[in-house]
Symmetry: C2
Subunit: 377 residues, 2 copies
């Protein structure tokens, strides 16, 4: 269990298979985000039909609502949500650090005001492990200290060092939970921090590996405001020194081009809310760039969103009807564009995988990015 088999590489790009208690994940793979234990607007069967192999849940949100006690009482996230495949939960770190002005960081943990009722709550490395254990995901994430994308060296260093100290505490507590209750099969992955500073990223990686072994490793604190070339540089710095035998998860990324750029730099797993969020706002990705479905140009179009797409939206509905649904503020429109965007990113992982295994990833990814950027300058 939790094994990762590397099946092919091409330059830094990798194709593999990750074995998890609730199923296997062929990588590279995009993981749709189910913040509240539901990929927003989608039925679990729609997520499955979009080809998603694993989804993500947010510990911060599920802790506040419905509370991990409810989820555990219903048999864990899988039974509660009826999503039968693998689930990964984040640690809550990213969310609580996003609550600028509403949270106090101490070495023990983070005190914050709930965005729901304003009540004071605390998450510590230990409680994050306990919450995630109760939620029962296949993979849980260490509780980390995230700093903004533009953080200077000393702030990034502080966050990185704290993340390492907290990682040790997470490891101890998660190990205790695993030992004490052998009912759940669950692994915990560490998160590399260090902002945009190559030296800090390297020290974070070394410190993380020293606290291992691990079944997977995440890269956090990217796509949080820094320019894209900076993110690419960080990935290029880490990729050659990351252990090749475990999957690499680039947290909170990304957009279609981010997936391609990340895969080219050795990333195996991605998650991002953009697919569903953009979908809800009427924005759909296509191989030729973005479609704003509200545009008057689609008023009488009997074409699908993307003639090259195999999703259930493109299979059934015209742009004219989808536009009408958005103009009339009908929920079905939000859902169908979200399904399309999720399928778009999932398929991108599938296509990248095929081309890595076929040895054509370089050409395929260059062509893909060129055509995509023609549509989105």
């Amino acid at each position: 269990m939790f094994e990762f088999n590397l099946e092919g590489t091409l330059g830094l790009a990798r194709a593999g298979t990750l074995h998890l208690p609730h199923g296997t994940v062929k990588t590279p793979a995009f993981m749709p985000v189910g913040t509240h234990g539901t990929v927003r607007g989608l039925h679990p069967l729609e997520v499955e039909r979009a080809g998603a192999q694993i989804i993500l849940g947010n510990t911060y949100h599920l802790h506040l609502r419905p509370g991990e006690d409810v989820v555990r009482g219903q048999g864990g996230l899988h039974r509660f949500t009826t999503w039968p495949g693998p689930i990964l939960t984040d640690s809550g770190g990213f969310q609580v650090f996003s609550l600028e002005g509403l949270r106090t960081i101490a070495e023990s943990g983070v005190e914050f005001q709930s965005h729901i009722d304003g009540g004071l709550r605390t998450i510590t490395p230990e409680s994050s492990m306990e919450i995630q254990w109760a939620l029962g995901a296949d993979v849980v994430m260490a509780f980390d200290h995230v700093v903004p994308g533009q953080a200077d060296f000393s702030l990034a260093e502080e966050g990185m060092e704290r993340t390492l100290r907290w990682l040790s505490r997470c490891r101890v507590r998660h190990g205790e939970l695993v030992e004490s209750q052998r009912t759940i099969d669950q692994t915990m992955w560490p998160i590399i921090q260090g902002g945009t500073h190559a030296e800090l990223r390297m020290r974070s990686l070394e410190g993380t590996l020293a606290r291992g072994p691990w079944t997977g490793i995440a890269i956090g604190g990217l796509s949080v405001g820094e320019p894209k070339p900076v993110m690419h540089r960080v990935l290029e710095g880490l990729s050659p020194v990351l252990p090749p035998s475990i999957p690499r998860y680039l947290m909170g990324v990304g957009f279609p081009d981010d997936l391609i750029e990340g895969i080219a730099r050795g990333v195996d797993l991605f998650d991002c809310v953009a697919a569903t969020r953009n979908g809800r706002h009427g924005s759909a990705w296509t191989a030729d760039g973005k479609v704003n479905i509200r545009a008057a140009a689609h008023r009488n179009s009997d074409q699908p969103l993307d003639p090259k797409c195999d999703c259930e939206t493109c299979h059934r509905f015209s742009r004219a009807y989808l536009r009408h649904l958005f103009m009339a503020e009908e929920m079905l429109g939000l859902r169908m564009l979200s399904i399309h965007n999720v399928r778009f990113l999932v398929r991108l992982g599938e296509l990248a995988r095929e081309s890595i295994l076929a040895g054509t990833f370089d050409q395929w990814s260059r062509d893909w990015l060129e055509s995509y950027h023609r549509g989105i300058p």
Copy 2:
């Protein structure tokens, strides 16, 4: 085409089959409302799986958005919405008369302010036929003058008389459209008005039949504020004198008990937005009364909404999860409760039909209402 076969009766209750261009409808039947060409929150396949045989579209709403030109350009409502079965459109009469203070009634038609852009629009009996012809439903409704449920004799008489005069104009214009363009197979049904006044209802029926023949007949202006026993009395007055050979459609009705009471008084078809509206508000019908899914009592319930229900919601999701979806304001919750409520009313039609054909309707409906009213005093 447009034939109605009466297959069984029991007292006033009837079981039949209505043949329409896009399929047959076994009656009694509930028709879900797809105001904007979409049953709110539901995919056409979900409506189909809920057992709906025919859906309703709103001429007023579709005229304003996206406009009948767009729908016709896409090949009509069926192709536009991808709903393959029969569709009935109302005439817009009910909607424009609901725009109290924003509309002016003249003999020629109704001038009103669009609720979308405030612009002045006019619907006449003729233009209602033209809009509905462009939308391309199987069954279209005559443009009628609806009065409030508490309207006195003279106001109800005025509306009823105008409805008859307009019916003649609708018949002429619809006949011209049918003659001039034989591309669409469509029938038009008249609407009986007359408020709560037995004499006026009878005169409306006589005047309507005198302008026939018709393939179906609707009873309008009920469930618009009058007490339920008054509605029952009107139905009891009409039922024995309505032609038995054509289907009877009670417009805008209803709730579960209204369906049973209507069927017992000879009604074959119903429509109402309550199924989806209540669903969106977290209210689900069950055989034992109403469930408010937000109630704290459901926080840890692993039970389905209704253990006796065969809908896809009850088949898959627990009350605990559905409650969580509503508390977290997740769209999936609205959808799943709407599916349940639609299936609930559709199944009520199926059960009533079975019991009419089996000769057990009296006992079944008495038991059903008793158990339902125990839950909803």
